[in-house]
Point group: C2
Chain length 448, copies 2
């Protein structure tokens, strides 16, 4: 499903902006979901975006700014004065506001904060600016509804009424003590059907999942996914309630992680998108291409040592692509399975057992391919000795590449490096070289 | 974050089962989250799982069964009689129950349904069994809270009290007319702070996102992600409210899709996990290995046509790995970027513009690599003609592989095939062959 708008529609809007047809524009966006308005914006020029945004209600405008893509946003927000921005930030959820302000020069950020009217929000944002973007603290919003353990239900509902104005989706009411230490939660369902005079202390659920503010965002995602949560409270080391993380932000973390893994697997070294600048795109590709190229040149050097053999039996060169390609394919298959096991966070059983399995699978596939290639060579070639060499080398390469593919992600993960890199060009390059080495060693030993 | 339990702990539990230390077991699992119990179960034998499950409260047992991994579950559920299973299904959410029963032989399924006590649940499950697993109907649960448009708030709350027993997380109350046509929703917050006599008609939000039951699960995921929803109602073509999909199921869809894409990229042809049988693992890898092998043999055949040149200038063979590896790397990089653009569902701007960008990036990277390799060859080799051939071929291969990598995912996606396949072994094999072809054609033309 794409939420694209046609180029024709975008041009029409652009023309309306040019001719200042405000009524048409307001009508067009009336009742449209802010997520859709932000998609429209991503297809328009920064100037058009600003013009349209100013025609919208500031609270809608705030939502649109939150949901627009980072690149587009950073682009068109530079057109606003800090005073204009502050109007929107007053209406933005604290987590989004902190993310947006974090991307701005410190001076602009300070001026925006100073111009804001919503003092509670300013305090929230300042609190959030302390956290790294990729930890629980950087994901959380300060807006939530909390109730004191000593209250009764009717006081709780009063608080929902009061705090609920700032909190779009409440999900749950957190229960704290006088020092703001998180004790548990009450679901909206329980509040709704409870008697007004029931004590919070008699109603709340004390055992709930929570995360510390310093926890890595991917671990937050794992926890929320494991326990099927749509919201999780964030606490500091003393157990004080700091904020909450909602599932929509975590879904973004999961999606981004999957994209990063894909990019690691395909040898893109920076986080790039199709819309990035040409130089950024070229730069993101170059490092791994150069690694691959260096591997290729090393291979050329290595083959240089076999010049004599190659000139005597040129048919040896014919099977170079077969050997290197198979090594690469086997290595990537093996590493991907390990990477996914690591990601789903479960290796049950012993390491020994796993290596044994890898060995058996490699033998099965190695024998199959070696036999197929041997059969092919017996039929189409008259050099039987070479046929044996190729099949033997192929089998060895499959064995080694399986082992390398299994071990590399485990080693990377142990050193805190994204194991998905193990399915990328690095392993392919290594396997190319190992494959060449094995092939020519075997050939040298068996061919006379 | 992994939710593993140590082997020692699992062995201890196993021993406790053997010695029937029921009190120890019950104590151990008391208060443990069902998601964690199911993780423990995944490390135990099917017989141990059954023994432990029968010591737990049936509603906890039902949750554990829902959350346990498919493979483990299908294994140990065969130990239960249909009558034993029905006790758990009475307590399982309808969407999970339908998924579980769908994996069973029809006869067992019918017997389970016939033995269940909760007639409303039986009806729900039978309704859900009609839907394909990968559409909105297959994802939805029947449990939800709905209110008639003609009611007032106090009737609504009464309904929450009544239906709320079956619905774990309510999220929202759906508003329907007398024919069950979905009209809108009321948030729990609004219900909580509204006056008891307020009419539902005056309180509800009429414009809400909804999906048809036949919509593909990935489109459901896109919509929920786009609009930041934690729950979405499912309707039939007449607009009648059928059920609702919650975000936890959609998070699973997103994660599975990412895994499938990774597997497609790495040439695994079935959905495999490290715990699958050896034969299944070997079989999942073989098809793409054979494709790669066939490519390699085709390459060998092609090179056979150049036997004379190779025996005259054996140094030509040295650069085969460089050429094929670079073609593969460039092709995968290009296709991954397109795949991710397709996945995030947005190509703004014209197709012409995109090809122009691809062209410029390819020229930039092609020139860089060709220059580097030329420099290397000028320093370390004395065959200047060959140096020119290699660099020229490298540049051409980069241009062609970029184009192939860009176009292939677009074509696959047009034909409804997962475009992530375009970053897999198929494209690598094609690029290997194209690379070889270009290299030897250029060599034949330039070398005398």
């Amino acid at each position: 499903m794409s939420f694209e708008f046609s180029n024709k529609y975008l041009k029409q809007l652009s023309r309306a902006v040019e001719q200042e047809e405000n009524e048409y524009i307001i009508n067009e966006f009336d009742g449209m979901h802010s997520a859709d308005i932000s998609t429209v914006m991503e297809g328009l020029s920064a100037e058009d975006c600003k013009y349209i945004l100013e025609l919208l209600n500031p609270s809608v405008g705030a939502d649109v700014i939150s949901e627009i893509e980072d690149d587009t946003r950073n682009n068109f927000l530079t057109l606003f004065t800090p005073q204009e921005l502050s109007k929107y930030m007053d209406n933005t959820d604290s987590d989004d506001a902190a993310d947006i302000l974090n991307d701005m020069p410190v001076k602009v950020r300070e001026e925006v904060l100073a111009s804001m009217n919503n003092n509670e929000k300013v305090q929230y944002i300042i609190d959030l600016l302390h956290y790294e973007e990729d930890c629980a603290g950087g994901l959380m919003a300060k807006e939530l509804v909390k109730a004191n353990i000593n209250w009764n239900v009717s006081q709780c509902i009063e608080e929902v009424r009061r705090q609920g104005q700032n909190v779009d989706k409440i999900y749950t009411v957190y229960v704290v003590d006088d020092h703001d230490i998180l004790l548990g939660r009450i679901s909206m369902k329980k509040l709704l059907i409870a008697n007004d005079l029931t004590k919070v202390a008699d109603l709340y659920e004390p055992e709930i999942a929570k995360v510390y503010s310093y926890l890595d965002e991917e671990e937050v995602a794992d926890i929320m996914q494991h326990y099927d949560l749509e919201v999780i409270p964030v606490i500091n080391v003393q157990g004080r309630l700091l904020g909450r993380i909602t599932i929509d932000d975590v879904v973004d973390v999961i999606t981004e992680q999957a994209e990063k893994d894909q990019q690691a697997m395909s040898g893109l070294s920076e986080d790039v998108e199709e819309t990035d600048s040409l130089i950024a795109m070229a730069r993101a590709r170059l490092p791994w291409l150069i690694v691959g190229m260096s591997g290729g040149l090393l291979g050329a050097n290595f083959l240089g040592g076999f010049e004599e053999e190659l000139s005597r039996i040129p048919a040896m060169a014919f099977f170079i692509p077969l050997i290197t390609a198979t090594g690469g394919n086997v290595g990537i298959q093996s590493s991907t399975i390990v990477v996914q096991s690591l990601a789903s966070g479960g290796f049950q059983g012993s390491a020994m057992n796993r290596y044994l399995r890898v060995l058996v699978i490699a033998i099965l596939n190695g024998l199959t391919l070696a036999a197929l290639v041997y059969g092919f060579n017996m039929i189409f070639s008259d050099n039987h000795q070479l046929a044996i060499v190729v099949s033997f080398a192929l089998f060895s390469v499959i064995m080694i590449a399986s082992f390398m593919g299994t071990i590399t992600p485990l080693v990377l993960s142990k050193f805190g490096i994204n194991p998905a890199l193990a399915s990328g060009p690095f392993i392919t390059t290594c396997n190319d070289l190992i494959g060449l080495g094995v092939y020519f060693m075997v050939a040298k030993a068996l061919l006379h």
